[in-house]
């Protein structure tokens, strides 16, 4: 009986390691090859580089115009994160506090957007009419709009748990609605706001379809599209492609490790409610 338990535990641990290996090896492959010479990287294997080429990264930044791309990605991510978090939490606050049926319906109308597919073709028309086509501002607005439903879903659920007594006390003290929201409610929302911001940032940073459709010029491309374009031109230099991939993924990995707790709580809320 005891032996069986030990054997079981070894088997379970082994399976866990094998699965982890399958999931991490492709990522390690990219990391290792980003330090190799072009010839050494042409095999794309897991052998450690014999000669460590750290200037691959500098070459990529210059050749791939990563400075502009990085700036674009930052503008899109930070811009849409700020706008989306701000507007969504304001809307959620009012929608969850009002007891009327119409507020409930409006909330459901927003949440329906989680499933709604984007019609890129007619969206282009709308963007053109609003003079947002091929502008950075347009891309920011789009990202904010597309992530609005899920953000409202998360913040609405959180605000519903904050007691109304707080609002009443603040109103009695003479708070205006704006003051009530910004100095009383907003600080209480910190946990859910961090979750929302981390998720929106990651989504925006990783996304490439909107710029693919709606920015005609390469100078407005984010890092994901820049790396894909680079891949098309330097398809023989896997060391450079890998270096480019590493640079594009570093911000995401950093945010992931810093905000792991928040990401998981955000991604699983709605799915699991206890």
């Amino acid at each position: 009986m005891k032996y069986r338990k030990i054997a079981n535990s070894i088997a379970v641990n082994a399976i866990a390691w094998i699965v982890s290996a399958i999931l991490i090896i492709p990522l390690l492959l990219i990391l290792i090859n980003s330090f190799k010479t072009s010839i050494a990287a042409s095999d794309m294997n897991l052998v450690l580089p014999s000669e460590w080429k750290f200037d691959n990264f500098l070459v990529v930044i210059q050749k791939g115009k990563l400075d502009t791309a990085f700036l674009n990605s930052m503008i899109y991510s930070v811009g849409s994160v700020t706008l989306c978090t701000f507007l969504a939490s304001m809307a959620s606050f009012v929608l969850s506090r009002r007891r009327k049926r119409s507020s409930k319906l409006l909330y459901l109308f927003f949440v329906l957007g989680i499933t709604m597919p984007i019609n890129f073709v007619s969206l282009m028309k709308v963007m053109q009419v609003m003079h947002l086509y091929n502008t950075r501002f347009g891309v920011i607005l789009l990202y904010a709009a597309l992530q609005m439903p899920f953000t409202i879903f998360l913040t609405y659920g959180f605000i519903s748990k904050i007691p109304r007594d707080i609002d009443e006390a603040a109103v009695l003290d003479g708070c205006t609605p704006l003051r009530l929201f910004f100095s009383v409610i907003l600080p209480l929302l910190k946990p859910v706001l961090i979750t929302v911001m981390v998720l929106t940032f990651l989504n925006t940073w990783n996304e490439f379809v909107l710029p693919l459709y709606f920015t005609g010029s390469t100078d407005k491309w984010p890092m994901t599209l820049a790396v894909y374009n680079f891949f098309g031109i330097y398809f023989k230099d896997w060391n450079l492609i890998c270096a480019d991939i590493v640079l594009t993924s570093v911000p995401v990995i950093i945010v992931y490790f810093l905000g792991q707790k928040y990401i998981v709580s955000g991604m699983t809320s709605g799915a699991v409610k206890g």
């Binding site: 641990n13 095999d43 409006l106 597919p117 019609n119 073709v121 007619s122 993924s249 998981v264």
Partner: protein, 291 residues
């Protein structure tokens, strides 16, 4: 306290305007445009009735294939992600050393851009120098060293496999949260009664996890129907039309300026998804309504 005064509606306007203008309106006018001959070749837009829909469902064109590919993709990835994700979740809620390391690693592919995952696997699945075939050859399994992405018979399966690789960690994480929410008292009671692991899984974990399974299924289905990124970055629909799905089809129509057909494909999707979405909302907001 006056509800209207304390919670003014203008708080909602910003979010509402953005959402309606950029999500709802394009969807609705897209349906309108699908009855026209809108294209980049002419400035005129004429009403042509159901002609676009006839084109899409006509057996002479490839669009039906896009549709069936999308459904196949959705079915296969949903089933595989659920089964593998659930097995991993059960595994990772047991006593394992370095549990948090495993969980962190397994979730990692989910946070990396799909475009990057696609490029990485283009290298790994390269028939000559790719890591997969090199490894297969080194252990003598030359027969299995296939042309993963360029053989039209297996390319779509390779795309689905990569997608499962990327997505399974996310589904697993949801399942882990679901299993952790089950009261340990059930398992302890079963332990005392001498239940085996399989019996515990079958009679406790699985039934109590049903709501979670419902949600992951809806998430997987929604994702599968909307899939674009992974196909675009791995094969871009090729070889031929072997891996073409609805959204890569829409992009192709868009880039060739055949806007009307593109918007018609999108509109078919729009209606299907709203239908699926209705059920999803019902599941996701169930608890709130009960409160």
């Amino acid at each position: 306290m006056n509800e209207r005064k304390t919670y003014p509606l203008y708080f909602v306007y910003g979010a509402l305007i953005l959402y309606v203008a950029l999500c709802v309106i394009p969807g609705l006018i897209g349906i309108g445009y699908s009855f026209t001959d809108w294209s980049s070749y002419s400035d005129e837009i004429n009403f042509i009735g159901l002609k676009n829909f006839a084109t899409i469902f006509s057996p002479d064109e490839n669009y039906v294939e896009y549709l069936s590919n999308t459904i196949l993709f959705t079915l296969v990835t949903t089933i595989c992600k659920s089964v593998i994700g659930l097995s991993l979740a059960v595994l990772l809620t047991k006593k394992i050393r370095g549990l948090n390391i495993h969980r962190a690693i397994m979730y990692m592919p989910a946070v990396i851009s799909t475009l990057i995952v696609g490029m990485t696997f283009k290298s790994i699945l390269n028939p000559q120098i790719g890591l997969l075939n090199e490894s297969l050859r080194s252990i003598g399994l030359d027969v299995f060293a296939l042309k993963w992405l360029t053989d039209s018979k297996i390319a779509f399966w390779s795309v689905m496999a990569v997608d499962i690789w990327k997505g399974v960690g996310y589904i697993m994480t949801i399942f882990i949260a679901g299993i952790m929410a089950i009261s340990p008292a059930y398992f302890e009671a079963a332990e005392i009664d001498g239940a085996t692991s399989w019996q515990k899984f079958k009679s406790i974990t699985l039934p109590l996890l049903m709501p979670t399974i419902a949600v992951t299924t809806v998430l997987n289905v929604l994702y599968g129907l909307k899939v674009f990124d992974i196909v675009y970055s791995l094969t871009n629909g090729g070889p031929g039309y072997a891996t073409e799905v609805l959204y890569t089809g829409v992009y192709k129509e868009f880039s060739q300026g055949r806007y009307a057909v593109g918007t018609t494909l999108s509109s078919v999707m729009f209606v299907v998804m709203l239908f699926v979405g209705y059920f999803m909302i019902k599941i996701m907001t169930k608890k709130e309504v009960e409160e």
